[in-house]
Amino acid sequence: MPKQNITPMPASCENGQLACPECGLLHRHMPLAPGKVAHCRQCHTVLYRDDPAMTDSVLALTVAGLILFALSNVFPLLGLRAQGVETGLHLLGASWAFWQQGFWVLALLVSLNLFLFPLLELLSLLTIALTIRLNWQPDLAILLFRWMRVLKPWGMLEVFMLGILVSLVKLGSMATLIVGTAFWSFSALIVVMAAANAVLDPYTVWQKLDKRCRH
């Protein structure tokens, strides 16, 4: 018997009700003063915020992020000099290292964590912000935002940064370290992506992407 897809009746914007994403308690939507935050009565999870400049801020941060992402991948991240010999490491060199050692599963995992998922996140943010800003058809943005939130924990730029710092201390006593250009753009990229995600309010985005909710 084939699976049958059923789309139930939407009840989201009906008399402005919304549910806490954590505990499921229903609330009634209330307009907020700019900059204010609405919390759940039961578990105090943030429900939504009001920030009139959200879309523009996300757009600016995402464009900056894409430029920094390109720089971080083009220039070398770290270098090491010992006895006149120099080795260098690019961002994807971390994945290449595992590949050369025969651990292709790890190579794949690392390149997903450091390249594919962060890039996908940046491109999704760009599409979502542009869709809201320019009133595009929301279908693609809905698909991307849905997957972005599932894949979020698997992009690990900031974890890699901690890895870089640990490696720097470990290697510092052994040889001369060269901090590459990509190290700085990579640091900035982490800050910019964190800022974009802090500014983005999921409730507002879904509300704006849902044609039925546009009041």
Binding site: P8, H39, C43, L80, T87, L109, V110, G163, L171
Partner: protein, 209 residues
């Protein structure tokens, strides 16, 4: 916020896990029908406690088993001037500690040994609570879940350190770092516990059975 003093379930509604959108389920459903969120088209989980709990247990048990080779097998080998030996996670921490780099030893110890163990126990504890329909300190259990979900990815730091060292320290006989099989099981533990945290539907902490 004004509340309607009802949960989604009590109001007979469905809430999408992904976009938080609400919908009204049809009165009758055949066994083969799949509900899709009217807003984001993600599959809606009609609260199926049994499945979420079972899948999470399976992932948790698999990662608990892999935790053994992850700690028993060497994760990398450092060779200096032709001599050196494979290091496990614990011996790596011990080496850092004994050379006086204790802040670093602490970071690696917490990220690679404490966090995975904590995740295994925390998820197990949450699952037992859910299976017994416990109403005990739901706020704190929710907080424990959030914490578990948040810290999981930081365990990958050890894998990244290995990748960076292997990529950088390649000076032939002078100094060389190789990756070993333990790193594969360690990465598997991190990935599986992250998946387990994902498959555990945290709203079950609040729901009555």
């Amino acid at each position: 916020m004004p509340t309607l003093n009802q949960t989604v379930r009590q109001a007979g509604l469905l809430q999408c896990n992904v976009c938080g959108g609400l919908s009204r389920p049809p009165a009758s459903l055949s066994r083969y029908s799949v509900l899709r969120c009217p807003r984001c088209h993600a599959r809606l989980h009609t609260p199926n406690r049994k499945r979420s709990v079972e899948v999470t247990w399976a992932l948790l048990i698999a990662s608990a088993i892999l935790y053994i080779p992850a700690n028993a097998l060497p994760v990398m080998s450092v060779y200096m001037l032709g001599s050196g030996q494979p290091d496990t996670i614990i011996s790596g921490v011990y080496k850092l500690w004994s050379t006086g780099q204790w802040p670093l030893a602490l970071i690696v110890f917490v990220a690679s040994i404490v966090v995975p163990l904590l995740k295994l126990f925390a998820l197990g504890f949450l699952l037992v609570g859910i299976q017994r329909c416990s109403r005990w300190r739901q706020h704190d259990r929710m907080r424990l879940y959030r914490l578990t979900e948040y810290i999981g990815r930081w365990s990958m730091v050890d894998i990244f350190v290995i990748a960076i060292l292997v990529g950088l320290v390649q000076f032939g006989n002078l100094a060389r770092v190789d990756a070993n099989a333990g790193s594969l099981s360690f990465a598997a533990v991190v990935v599986l516990t992250m998946l387990a945290a994902h498959t555990l539907d945290e709203r079950m902490i609040w729901e009555e059975c």
